[in-house]
């Protein structure tokens, strides 16, 4: 295997475990709602967004309107706009790799590529392309496997959707440990809890997102210290991967 592909594969290994588990949970959930392996395959190939696919099962099961679907998707995935913003310069010359890299920019893949670096002697966009592809394949495999098992085996799947909660809690912990600047995360918690109390569980995402943006922009001088604002996930994940590689 050529070096770029090999190093991309090694770097993707931490995501493999998470995606297989999370995808499996989604597959089971979808299958139990009546959406079998083919539906799951189509969704994991074309949507490829973890939390959103879990939510899509809710939308499908409740026959949500297309407008409600679009609004929910926008709210849950709006953060991807900001991922893209930080990658514009890094992917400026990505050429033929660009469309797929941008399409596959999930939380996890973003966290592995947002430092804009690839191993020495490799081309970053090409490296990012393979990393994205490996992650996508893990996701598809986990989802379809879950759907097959969920279709064949009758079991009590209550609580399996906690996989999504667990993923975000783990990412939160990882970011927290990867930086000394905790104020943005604390703003996120505080504003979201307030919005939840004020607007209730079904309609607090929009006010929470807006509130977070307002507080972060309004208090910019308080949250921003030059040279110390880093991308914590990337930092944490990079350290993690370095440790793993070092232990090999």
């Amino acid at each position: 295997m050529e070096k770029t592909i090999r190093t991309a594969f090694v770097k993707s290994l931490p995501v493999m475990a998470g995606y297989l588990a999370l995808g499996f949970g989604f597959g089971v959930l979808a299958a139990q709602a009546g959406y079998g392996p083919l539906w799951v395959l189509a969704m994991s190939v074309t949507i490829y967004a973890g939390a959103m696919q879990y939510l899509a099962v809710d939308l499908l099961a409740n026959h949500a309107t297309l407008v409600a679907t679009a609004v929910a998707t926008f709210m849950v995935n709006a953060r991807h706009i900001f991922y893209g913003v930080t990658m514009i310069d890094k992917y400026r010359n990505a050429g033929k790799y660009k469309p797929y890299i941008v399409f596959g920019m999930t939380d996890e893949t973003y966290s592995l590529t947002c430092d804009g670096k690839s191993p020495e002697g490799t081309d970053f966009p090409r490296f990012a392309f393979w990393l994205t592809l490996f992650d996508h394949l893990y996701w598809i495999a986990g989802c379809v496997l879950g759907a097959v098992v969920g279709t064949l085996v009758e079991f009590d799947s209550r609580g399996v959707d906690f996989a999504m909660t667990a993923l975000f809690v783990a990412v939160f912990v990882e970011q927290w440990k990867g930086t000394r600047r905790h104020r943005p995360a604390l703003v996120g918690v505080a504003v979201s809890v307030l919005a939840l109390l004020a607007f209730g569980p079904d309609s607090f995402l929009i006010p929470a997102t807006l509130g977070i943006c307002v507080v972060l922009i309004g208090g910019r001088r308080f949250f921003e210290t030059k040279n110390e604002m880093e991308t914590p996930t990337a930092q944490a994940v990079a350290n993690d991967a370095a440790e793993k590689e070092g232990g090999r």
């Binding site: 949507i47 995935n77 893209g84 941008v102 609580g159 909660t165 783990a170 979201s192 922009i217």
Partner: protein, 110 residues
């Protein structure tokens, strides 16, 4: 029963909006223009806040004031945090936490 065409439409809308959000900044700021400073700042400060929001979102249906007093969510959530801070292994934290939550929900607090 599955309403086939409506289901296809829902999947298509979710896929299209998700891809649209991912491509949007590259269309808007992808040219020669420099990215506005405030957008770059948000690109750094926002992700941790949004992850925090998603954590809160995941716990939105917990019921702290009546049985089981959000205990399954709380116990499993803390277990995930401790496991992940300790081992940094996503399969262990997410998989283990989910199994623990399912056990709590189905057996302990059933």
């Amino acid at each position: 029963m599955i309403d086939f065409s409506h289901s296809v439409a829902i999947v298509a809308v979710v896929a299209a909006v998700t891809a649209g959000l991912r491509f949007f900044p590259f269309f808007v700021f992808g040219g020669k223009r420099k990215t506005p400073e405030v957008v770059s700042y948000l690109g750094v400060a926002l992700p941790p806040a949004i992850i925090a929001m998603l954590v809160v979102y995941c716990f939105r249906h917990a019921t702290p004031t009546r049985y089981p007093f959000a205990l399954p969510e709380l116990i499993a959530g803390v277990a995930v945090a401790i496991l992940h801070a300790w081992k940094k292994n996503m399969l262990l934290s997410a998989g283990g936490g989910t199994l623990l939550y399912m056990a709590l929900l189905q057996r302990v607090f059933a």
